[in-house]
Every structure is written in structure tokens, then in C-alpha cells.
């Protein structure tokens, strides 16, 4: 229950950042998708099934403000969570450099996914040049800042474990 409450607080904090604070303080090109970072963290630290459920939940939350039809973000996040949990076992994603690469790749995947769905739905879309600039900047920002955020989340987990808020099995 405590774990659930903590995760709820984390997700709520990220949601508020993205819907209220980000648009005021952070330019669009430099935004790191906090949900993506949280999702990667959950995929690394939770069982795959739980991570996938989290992916669906985070995706549904993200979908609330979108003008698109269909469950766009749940599907994108589902793919990311699946990939992250598989690669965590098979590749050395403990390394911050690999994490940077992985987060950059996921941001790229997210942007291309959204763009593809826009094209498929025959919706209007931003000029390609502008889209590519935003995508490239976001990818680089995610690769640079993402591992730091992941490290912060890991530190938070360890701290909570130390305080006895998390059970030992959670960390395992």
C-alpha cells in the first residue's frame, strides 16, 4: 500500500510538472518526458507484468490531453516498457552511458510514433524541418538529463528502502 502511494505521488508529481510547470518554464524543445523516465525506471525495478500495467496507466494519463484518436501513448509506452524490461535482462543497462543511449532512443521512438499516427490519421502535422529540430533536441536532452533523473530515482528507492518504506523484495 505504501509503495502504491509513493508511486502515485511520483506519477502525480510528474503529471503536474508536465501539465502545469513545463509549459510555463521549459521550452518545448528541451522537455524531457518524465513519464518516459519513470516508465524506464519501473521497467528496470519492477517485474515485467507490473511494468506493463504501469505503462498502460501512464499512457492513459498522457492520452488525456491529446487531440489524437486511439490509444496512442499506452501503445508507445507499452512498447518501451517491454523493450526496457527485456533489454535490462540481456544488455548492460546498469551503465549510465547505455541508459543515455536507451532513453534517447525511446524519445526518438516516441516522436516518430506520434508523427506516424498523425500521418496515418491524416491529421495536420508540423512542418518536417521543425519536427526534426524538436525531435533531435528532445532526443539529446533526454540522453543527457534522463540518466541523471534515473539515478535520482534509484537513490530515492535506496533511501526509502533504508527507511523501511520499501520491502526488500521490491528492490530485488
Amino acid at each position: 500500500m505504501r509503495t502504491f502511494f509513493l508511486y502515485f505521488l511520483l506519477i502525480l508529481g510528474a503529471y503536474l510538472c508536465q501539465t502545469v510547470l513545463y509549459p510555463i518554464f521549459v521550452v518545448s524543445e528541451l522537455r524531457v518526458d518524465l513519464f518516459l523516465v519513470l516508465l524506464v525506471h519501473f521497467s528496470f525495478s519492477l517485474q515485467r507484468s507490473k511494468a506493463l500495467v504501469m505503462a498502460l496507466f501512464l499512457g492513459l494519463l498522457m492520452d488525456v490531453g491529446l487531440p489524437l484518436k486511439g490509444l496512442v501513448y499506452p501503445l508507445i509506452y507499452f512498447g518501451v516498457a517491454l523493450l526496457a524490461s527485456m533489454l535490462w535482462q540481456n544488455l548492460n543497462l546498469h551503465s549510465r552511458r547505455y541508459q543515455a543511449f536507451f532513453l534517447g532512443l525511446c524519445t526518438l521512438f516516441e516522436g516518430v510514433g506520434v508523427r506516424t499516427i498523425l500521418v496515418l490519421q491524416d491529421a495536420g502535422f508540423a512542418e518536417t524541418s521543425h519536427f526534426l529540430v524538436v525531435l533531435a533536441t528532445r532526443t539529446i536532452t533526454a540522453a543527457l538529463v534522463g540518466p541523471l533523473l534515473l539515478a535520482g530515482l534509484e537513490r530515492l528507492d535506496q533511501w526509502l528502502l533504508h527507511l523501511g518504506v520499501f520491502r526488500e523484495s521490491q528492490e530485488a
Partner: protein, 285 residues
């Protein structure tokens, strides 16, 4: 027959892809009303979002009220001069408006009724950052419906794309998914205003030989079937006529200030029905 590990590895991705495709197709119907989950999320988070926005606004007020007063006197003087000029202008416009009303009455035009406006507060922005949508604190219980125009004191902001009981989702004209049938006020040249996603819009499909100049005001034409006629959209910032091609590139700066969004107004009136659609319906009958 026992399911081998390889078969399982093949079956799981296939199932996931099928699930993904079915989820997409199941949700491809029009999202006029927000889903139960969306309404729930908005209902839970909007009070918190309002509080956070209030706190940030309060801090901003303190900053602007006490620490950011350098040069206020000069600015005040300049604004007073500007106000004098504007007063004169307003007087002229009032005269023109009266003349317009008299002429309309003479020509037996339908009397124009003041459009009812519903003030609403901004609750949140699009969380993904890829789109230009906002959430406002008025919904179907306040009379807000799909496709109603949303305006500010400066000009048109967007249209309602989703409604729940107490909230509505608004697609801003900055979003590349938005398209508004528009007119250049001076020369009556028509085009379609689409968002560029970065505080700029593009007036598309304006032919190369049409008369468009920097500084021209762009208004809604009322032909799209969604926005009332005559709403100010913005001013022309850049006109580029390339050496080839049918159309010129007309960049427009929106009149509404999207970086200082606080309060908006929803135009509470059914969108005008397009004559073409009426005709089509008659034919269908």
C-alpha cells in the same frame, strides 16, 4: 501438443500486435466526449493543477509587483500617450460602427445578436509537449459543446475538441492539427490558417498573384462551419513568393497571447452550418 519455448516466443509478440491493433481500431471513433477514464483523471487532478497554478501565479505577482518595477514610470508615460491615441481611434470606430448599424437596418439585414461568452479558466496544458491543447474548467454542464470557438480579448484561441461534465479540451490554433478558414481583412483574400506549433501560424493556399502584405489583419471567414465570422486571428508577419509554385507562403502571428494564457472565453453558440452540408443532407434525404 506441448507448447515449446520458441512457439511461445512467437505467440506473445503476435498477441501483443493484435491487441495493439484492436485497441487502435476500437478507439478510432470520434472522441467528442471524454472517456470515463479521462473524466476521472481530469476530475482528480484539476483541483491540484489549479492550486499549483495559483501558487505559481502568486509568486509571479509578487515578482512583478515588487521586484520588477524598473522603468515603470517611463512605461507608464508611454502607455498614457498610447491610450490617448487609442481613445481617438475608438471614437472613430464607434462612429463607423453606428454608421454600419444604420446601414444594416436600412438594408433589412438580420439584426446581429451579441454572442454569449462563457468565461473559463485554464487548468492544464497537453502533457506530451507534442501538441498545443489546453484543458479549461467549463464543461457540458455549463453549456460547452464540441466545436465551440474559444477566444480571448485579443482574438481567436481555438476550438473545443472534447467535453466532460465540468471540463473541456481545447485545440489551440497553434497546433498543426488546427485549420481555420480565414480572410485577409483588407483585400478579402481567402486561405486556410494552420498552426506551425511554435507561436506562429501559416496561411495556406493563398495564390501567388493575390494581394497580401506584411501587417495585414487575418480574420475568420465563417466558412469552415466551426468559427463565427470576423474573429481576429492574427497579423501577417512574413510573405514569401518563391520563384515557382502556385501559392505564396504567408506566415501569421496569432493575435492571442498564448504565452500568458490565464482566462479564456467560450463562444456559446452552435457553429454555423455550412450551406454545402445542408445541400448534401437534402440530397441524402
Amino acid at each position: 501438443m506441448p507448447v515449446t519455448s520458441q512457439t511461445r516466443k512467437l505467440i506473445i509478440p503476435i498477441l501483443i500486435i493484435l491487441l495493439a491493433l484492436s485497441l487502435i481500431s476500437a478507439n478510432l471513433h470520434s472522441r467528442e466526449n471524454m472517456s470515463f477514464f479521462e473524466s476521472l483523471v481530469v476530475g482528480i487532478t484539476s483541483p491540484i493543477q489549479k492550486v499549483v497554478r495559483g501558487i505559481i501565479g502568486g509568486i509571479g505577482e509578487v515578482w512583478r509587483g515588487y521586484f520588477y518595477l524598473v522603468g515603470t514610470h517611463q512605461e507608464n508615460e508611454a502607455l498614457k500617450r498610447e491610450l490617448q491615441k487609442l481613445k481617438l481611434q475608438v471614437n472613430r470606430y464607434r462612429e463607423a460602427d453606428l454608421a454600419n448599424q444604420r446601414l444594416r437596418a436600412l438594408l433589412n439585414f438580420k439584426k446581429s445578436i451579441a454572442t454569449p461568452l462563457l468565461p473559463a479558466e485554464l487548468v492544464a496544458f497537453d502533457p506530451s509537449g507534442w501538441f498545443q491543447t489546453i484543458l479549461i474548467d467549463k464543461g457540458s454542464s455549463d453549456g460547452v459543446a464540441q466545436d465551440m470557438a474559444v477566444v480571448s480579448a485579443e482574438g481567436l484561441m481555438g476550438r473545443v475538441i472534447g467535453v466532460s461534465n465540468h471540463h473541456a479540451k481545447v485545440l489551440l490554433i497553434l497546433d498543426p492539427n488546427s485549420a481555420v478558414d480565414a480572410l485577409i481583412q483588407r483585400s478579402r483574400v481567402r486561405g486556410v490558417l494552420v498552426g506551425l506549433g511554435r507561436h506562429r501560424c501559416l496561411l495556406k493556399y493563398v495564390q501567388r498573384n493575390e494581394d497580401v502584405q506584411v501587417g495585414d489583419r487575418v480574420i475568420s471567414s465563417g466558412m469552415g462551419g466551426v468559427f463565427p465570422k470576423g474573429l481576429l486571428l492574427g497579423t501577417v508577419q512574413e510573405v514569401v513568393r518563391g520563384s515557382s509554385g502556385l501559392f505564396q507562403r504567408v506566415e501569421v502571428e496569432p493575435a492571442a497571447n498564448f504565452s500568458k494564457l490565464e482566462e479564456v472565453m467560450v463562444v456559446i453558440q452552435p457553429p454555423p452550418e455550412e450551406p454545402r452540408l445542408k445541400g448534401a443532407r437534402k440530397r441524402q434525404k
